[in-house]
């Protein structure tokens, strides 16, 4: 049977070229980069080179790159670390309703604990934040703004540079260093420009597992002058911000993956955008289907649709049986039994959220895969609708 993996936003396979670069660092160059002998020095040099290469990709300095265990840790380090280190500056934080759980959950926890006041900005029907809404929410005691670069569920690209400029303007007008601006760019890497000077971010989160790099490794860009308190204390690695022996092969892999992804970005974006739009157009020909997210300001590899009258998990399982692997925002597929907060945040009804499916394309996706999906899905949707007692009127769901 055909096998079509369309869940690249969940994770990507490791690029064989990345694996080849990582290989020597498991058993050959295995020493601890902190060790004061020549094998240790060799490992340290490799980590330094990786750090340098990533700094070049981000238009940053080497000492601004902090390696950690992945996107979730990087987000937590920002949220908790920046807030605790800058209490004197204030206790107000701004984020958005469509952020990844790795940002929202720690923020909501700190709010519950009484450590911060939290403003969660709404988004428009496409999932976009308005920089003007942000300007209105800024207060003298705002210490951190965290807005994702591109959404993992609906692929909507946020106006990060506009928001960054608005924050710069505010800081200048109020003669303050605050708020710091953080963006989670895990989904954007490989598709969008990561130049931190153009984005005007102070903190940026990236990880390996979405860019054909290894899992279990990520990084945080910390602009010089932005203070953080560590989450993980110990031997003082990573400038004391993230203790623990460096994941050397992971770091090498992350740097190699980022280099390859950013180099191939423009060509790959053109190819994926064509495939994306072909899949969207084909899916929207199925009756009672809506596109979730922005028609153009979206990641080149993201397709998110709702098929009314059916439930997403059932559709995922039927597609799985046909060798098509995708995901859903349905409550039934989540451990909390709530439907996707992102789909709800864009004003889509619960009914449509339960019927949402996400397809995320990748390097291996070919035009024939899209043909196969478009050939397979209509029958599955028809079968599940045939089994469903629900027949909603589309006029309420567009």
């Amino acid at each position: 049977m055909k096998s079509v993996y369309l869940d690249h936003a969940a994770t990507t396979p490791l690029d064989s070229r990345v694996l080849a670069k990582m290989q020597p660092y498991f058993s050959d160059v295995f020493a601890n980069p902190s060790s004061f002998h020549s094998p240790g020095l060799k490992a340290k040099e490799a980590v330094d080179a990786a750090r340098k290469s990533i700094a070049v990709q981000l238009n940053a300095h080497s000492d601004e790159i902090i390696f950690c265990s992945g996107g979730t840790e990087s987000d937590n380090l920002v949220v908790v670390g920046a807030i605790r280190a800058n209490k004197a500056g204030g206790r107000h934080v701004i984020t958005s309703s469509v952020e990844h759980h790795a940002v929202l959950e720690p923020l909501i926890h700190l709010q519950k604990m009484g450590e911060i006041e939290l403003t969660i900005l709404p988004v428009d029907k496409f999932g976009r934040i308005d920089a003007k809404d942000l300007e209105k929410a800024l207060r003298p005691e705002t210490i951190l703004v965290s807005i994702m670069y591109a959404n993992n569920e609906i692929g909507t690209i946020e106006p990060i540079a506009d928001i960054g400029r608005a924050i710069l303007k505010w800081r200048k007008a109020n003669a303050t260093r605050f708020p710091f601006f953080h963006s989670d760019a895990c989904q954007a890497a490989g598709a969008l420009d990561l130049d931190v000077e153009k984005l005007h971010v102070d903190l940026l989160t990236l990880n390996g597992s979405k860019i054909y790099g290894p899992k279990g490794v990520g990084l945080l860009f910390v602009r010089r002058g932005a203070e953080l308190e560590p989450l993980v204390r110990g031997g003082g690695q990573e400038r004391g911000l993230r203790s623990g022996t460096e994941n050397v092969p992971g770091i090498i892999g992350l740097a190699a993956a980022l280099e390859l992804a950013q180099a191939a970005r423009e060509k790959e974006n053109l190819r994926l955008t064509k495939l994306r739009d072909k899949l969207i157009a084909g899916l929207l020909e199925i009756p009672k289907t809506r596109l979730n997210g922005h028609p153009t300001e979206r990641l080149p590899n993201n397709i998110n649709v709702s098929f009314m009258d059916i439930e997403g998990e059932a559709a995922v399982l039927y597609l799985d049986a046909q060798g098509i692997f995708c995901s859903t925002g349905s409550a039934c597929a989540s451990s909390t039994l709530d439907p996707s907060h992102v789909i709800l945040a864009i004003g889509v009804s619960y009914e449509a959220a339960h019927g949402s499916l996400r397809f995320t394309l990748g390097r291996s996706t070919k035009s024939t895969d899209i043909d196969y999906v478009l050939k397979t899905i209509p029958d599955i949707v028809a079968k599940l609708r045939h089994m469903s007692p629900v027949n909603l009127d589309m006029k309420y769901f567009t």
Binding site: D309, S330, C332, E351, H386
Partner: protein, 219 residues
């Protein structure tokens, strides 16, 4: 993902390790649903029960045909909006009430979600709540049959007992909320606001949470 046979269907383990995947019986009923409604028009006269809504993620409609002499269910058809568990549970239920000459309405009323779960070889614990609507839809259809046959004495009220007079929350509401994952008082109150204005009922509420947790999740 390992292949599980029907006998060791991947039910949740007591150690708290939760599996996402379905037993072969569940998969079979999900991919090859039995007795699902093909032609509603032909069943316009059949007794029907509908529960749930697409907004909450599950909705089920059940039709039954009953032999008036024996009160045995001769035919049971259904439509389900829901996930794999919901579809498989309704399918299995339709088999159980019609096999071996059919259940009597009294027997069918006693069908519990656990009986369906057992025949399915279990479900992952967080999916159990998806399987509890089928028997409710069935009981609604049974009531409808009695109503249509002017046997109003046999119609059973499913409203439940009011626990909190301020919010009119019943034991049934609490049962549903627990099945939907509200396994602590805090989570239950977030859903139902039960006892917020009437804290005197809280001991009973907590007891009901424990009762339903034990009933459905064996915790």
């Amino acid at each position: 993902m390992t292949n599980t046979s029907s006998s060791d269907g991947d039910i949740v383990s007591r150690s708290g390790e939760q599996s996402w995947f379905y037993s072969d019986v569940v998969k079979d009923h999900f991919f090859n649903p039995r007795n699902f409604m093909q032609d509603e028009a032909a069943y316009a006269d059949a007794a029907m029960g509908l529960v749930g809504s697409p907004a909450c993620g599950d909705a089920m409609k059940v039709w039954i045909k009953v032999d008036p002499a024996t009160e045995k269910i001769s035919d049971c058809r259904w439509k389900t909006f829901g996930c794999g568990s919901a579809i498989a549970s309704t399918s299995m239920m339709s088999v159980m009430v019609t096999e071996n000459g059919g259940m009597t309405l009294d027997e069918a009323r006693k069908l519990r979600p656990q009986d369906i779960l057992e025949r399915l070889g279990g479900l992952p614990s967080r999916k159990i709540h998806c399987s509890v609507l089928g028997d409710k839809a069935l009981r609604a259809a049974i009531n409808d049959w009695y109503r249509r046959n002017n046997r109003l004495d046999k119609v059973e009220d499913e409203r439940g007992r009011i626990i909190d007079p301020e919010t009119n929350v019943t034991d049934k509401d609490i049962e549903h909320a627990v099945l939907d994952g509200a396994d602590t008082l805090e989570k239950l109150q977030a859903k139902l606001k039960v006892g917020v204005g009437h804290p005197e009922c809280l001991p009973e509420v907590e007891q009901l949470i424990r009762f339903y947790k034990e009933k459905y999740f064996g915790l």
